[in-house]
Symmetry: C2
Subunit: 227 residues, 2 copies
């Protein structure tokens, strides 16, 4: 068999990417979902997705699709997995690679989001979704939870300066469980790459809370993280 035939005798497929986009605002973990104003499945809720093109890697397709919706580049993304059931998309056979993204809601382009008819939805109030998108979210959420407990990815969801109460609320939303304030702060105090600044946030309380910052350079020295 020639090298050429080795490929030629096999079928080709549409390959898509779907993005599970996490955002955090006012103590709530949200997902950015589309209320589809296009076919197929017009009117239904879905993840933001798109097709892989000839001259882009699958990873880059995910970045492009995310940027089409949010205007953001350089966003933290991680592959969740590939969904390849024959009938997962009833219109055509499409193999889809899911990615999750973590971003700061306030940095996203609100106009673009509106144009796409996309909405931030509380992670505990996700509506029914097309195809296997519910399963994708489930897997993404589990992966993200595990990763967030062992690597400092949660800061992607926060502004550069944040209070410890914000950080704790975020972890409570990720884990879906309350965390003891003193134990939490004890653990944070041990990570010297979570740096106290001299700035105070007065928006959340009368007394004001110290603002902290994640210092990636310091983190890279030991790379130990556990919450």
């Amino acid at each position: 068999m020639s090298t050429k035939n080795y490929y030629l005798q096999n079928p080709k497929f549409y390959v898509a990417v779907d993005c599970i986009i996490f955002g955090f605002n006012e103590g709530e973990l949200n997902l950015l979902l589309l209320k589809r104003n296009f076919e197929p499945a017009r009117g239904a809720w879905s993840l933001m997705g798109g097709f892989v093109q000839e001259q882009e890697s699958v990873d880059n397709a995910a970045k492009r699709v995310l940027s089409e919706l949010t205007g953001l580049t350089d966003v933290y993304m991680e592959q969740v997995g590939t969904f390849g059931r024959v009938d997962r998309d009833p219109g055509e056979r499409v193999i889809s690679v899911a990615y999750y993204a973590l971003l700061n809601i306030n940095e996203s382009d609100k106009e673009l989001v509106e144009q796409h008819n996309a909405f931030w939805v509380n992670i505990n109030e996700v509506p029914s979704l097309v195809f296997d998108h519910t399963e994708m979210i489930e897997q993404a959420r589990n992966l993200m939870r595990i990763k967030a407990s062992t690597a400092p990815i949660s800061f992607q969801l926060l502004p550069k300066l944040f209070t410890l109460t914000q950080l704790q609320k975020l972890y409570e939303a990720i884990y879906g469980d309350a965390i003891d304030k003193r134990n939490f702060r004890k653990r944070i105090a041990e990570m010297n790459y979570i740096e106290k600044t001299s700035k105070i946030d007065k928006s959340g309380s009368k007394r004001g809370a110290v603002l902290y910052r994640f210092n990636n350079k310091v983190y890279c020295k030991d790379k130990k993280f556990k919450i």
Copy 2:
């Protein structure tokens, strides 16, 4: 835009699966690798792979490809991830989904393995591989290590009856690190789904070692596992 056009304007791709096949024998963790006697990259080492076909899911393609090489069905497999760099396969653009499989070497069909020019290679002595297969193995190994510490998947690599020394050697191979015998056995003793049998294995020592068995029904009751 019509529903039809929605798909039609997009390109299609070859989609492959590649299998990272783990086996355990005589205290060693091995991978089943091909010394390719076919194009492309004839003569080079690679993972066993194959193309996804029209009427099969991606998961089923992985199962089929594994079974073509080993004769085995109902093997424990898990998706590692999708590798989609544009030039990852220099012959043609191919998007590949990697899976790892855990099986008992002695149950595999030795004739089929030989026909494919495949060999069991110690995991610490893996040769250079084609394309991005080295990276696939790296990821698979990490995933498997994490999974093996929190779910009873290691038994897939052992015969139905096994000694505690075998089990310990297996975990030492998975973690690449020595384990304290008494602490290990203490942990095993707490898992009452790892059942002592009345059988003795005399092959590994003069004295003989008690054979144990994994009882999945008992495991399913509490599903707690941690090694």
